[in-house]
């Protein structure tokens, strides 16, 4: 009866708008699948227990931890990584603001920061600095001290709100 459990499973999903089919090991993390099988190395595997946020990607429109979701669970979902969000220009303003405010040094946390911040920026209203800090509390940065990151996100939140009103 235990043959109903598989150690390799076929999955079909879309990644950055492209259809992908693969056979994945049962225990493989989504982030390792994206990095190792698809070569999408923007999301980083770091703490591997959900604390640091460096592996954050979007699944069906929501930010998730790539190390706390198995690749097999991404079957029939729509996944976006920082590569896709960059290519589609969806976060161009956010990336420009990060550069302008020096919101990164080594850049290791930046893909996760961008994906998390984008989720907040898509919600209604202009978030306060406190709300930005709270939303990014699950993304660790060991270089910047966060102030410049909060500046960058706040700048984009105000700019997008201004555009929406115009």
């Amino acid at each position: 009866m235990t043959d109903v459990f598989r150690d390799r499973i076929d999955i079909a999903l879309t990644v950055n708008g492209e259809p992908v089919e693969a056979r994945v090991p049962a225990g493989q993390h989504l982030v390792d699948f994206l990095r190792g099988e698809l070569g999408l190395t923007g999301a980083h595997a770091s703490c591997e227990h959900g604390v640091c946020g460096a592996c954050t990607v979007r699944v069906d429109g929501q930010a998730v931890r790539g190390c706390l979701m198995l690749a097999v669970q991404a079957d029939r979902t729509e996944v976006w990584t920082v590569e896709g969000l960059s290519d589609s220009a969806a976060i161009r303003d956010l990336q420009d603001a990060f550069v302008a405010r020096n919101a990164l040094q080594c850049g290791f946390c930046t893909p996760g920061m961008l994906v998390s911040a984008q989720e907040l920026l898509e919600a209604d209203g202009v978030p306060s600095r406190e709300e930005i800090r709270e939303h990014l509390s699950g993304n660790y940065c060991r270089c910047t001290g966060y102030e410049a990151i909060v500046d960058a996100v706040e700048t984009v939140a105000r700019a997008r709100a201004g555009k929406g009103a115009a």
């Binding site: 235990t2 090991p25 493989q28 993390h29 946020g53 930010a63 998730v64 931890r65 198995l70 669970q73």
Partner: protein
């Protein structure tokens, strides 16, 4: 580290999940949102599990009113509970607790059933359902069974869920007019597990108090509840500190956790009145 899994199967419905559990030879492990289980697998606290993925069983997600009770499906995600109008109205303690649970990306995936079945003594939802006098709904191939929250949490990561059973829902009495529900906790950083936490529910003239991260399981504090019913806050703090069983670790000493529990109970009582804390 990388997760270690023995195998994987996706359940189409509850019956299928129960059949898979039965076929797993005791190695079956229910996978829902995975926000605790996958982390445990990554740390190799759990190895070789036969994963039974229930996360596509739509019937297990959602919130509904059932007479004078509110029923929350096991697969309802934390983020959904945080914004659900029925939860806000009838069990606001759960909605308020969501902001304390980890971070946005984890709340997008984690489920209430997973949190309750995992029974982390430092987690918010187990203490909430204890304070709300909730009932756990379990299913097995033999049928269904209800367990009161008071009897559900047994030890660190141990619950009343028996071999072959799945937690399918939790239900609780809807809040009465004028009822107050308050959660207070202290954590070193936003989203960390609490060093100590308190849930307080005042329904009419009676109180229910539960404490988390101060013992091997979320703990009801009957002595503190009786003292609050009598209007004696000092006695309630003293009783509470006798009823909890905090441990020392790298985060906090047992004494400090006990002290925090008392401070948090006073803050929670002030929160009942909407007073400045």
């Amino acid at each position: 580290m990388k997760a270690s899994a023995g195998g994987y199967a996706r359940a189409a419905d509850v019956r299928h999940a129960l059949d898979l559990l039965s076929a797993s030879g005791g190695m079956g492990r229910i996978l829902a949102g995975g926000q605790s289980l996958v982390a445990a697998m990554n740390m190799r606290l759990s190895e070789g599990d036969m994963l039974i993925d229930i996360s596509r069983i739509a019937a297990l997600a959602g919130v509904e009113e059932q007479g004078d009770r509110l029923r929350i499906g096991a697969l309802t995600r934390h983020a959904a509970i945080g914004r659900d109008p029925l939860v806000r109205r009838h069990a606001p303690l759960l909605a308020d607790a969501v902001a304390h649970i980890a971070h946005s990306a984890i709340r997008n995936r984690g489920t209430i059933g997973g949190a309750l079945a995992h029974a982390d003594p430092a987690a918010e939802f187990p203490a909430c359902v204890l304070a709300l006098d909730a009932t756990m709904h379990l299913e097995s191939l033999e049928g269904s069974r209800d367990v009161a929250a008071d009897d559900f949490f047994q030890d660190v990561f141990e619950t009343a869920i028996a071999e072959g059973e799945i937690l399918t829902a939790v239900s609780m009495p809807r809040a009465l007019p004028g009822e107050r529900q308050v959660i207070r906790e202290v954590a070193r950083r936003s989203g960390d597990y609490a060093l100590a936490g308190i849930c307080l529910v005042r329904r009419g003239d009676t109180h229910r108090v539960s404490a988390f991260s101060v013992g091997p399981r979320p703990m009801l504090a009957p002595g503190a509840m009786a003292a609050l019913d009598a209007g004696d806050i000092d006695a309630a703090v003293e009783a509470l500190q006798g009823e909890i069983d905090p441990a020392s670790d790298t985060q906090a000493s047992a004494d400090y956790r006990g002290h925090l529990a008392g401070v948090l109970l006073r803050r929670a009582v002030a929160g009942l009145q909407g007073e400045a804390e």
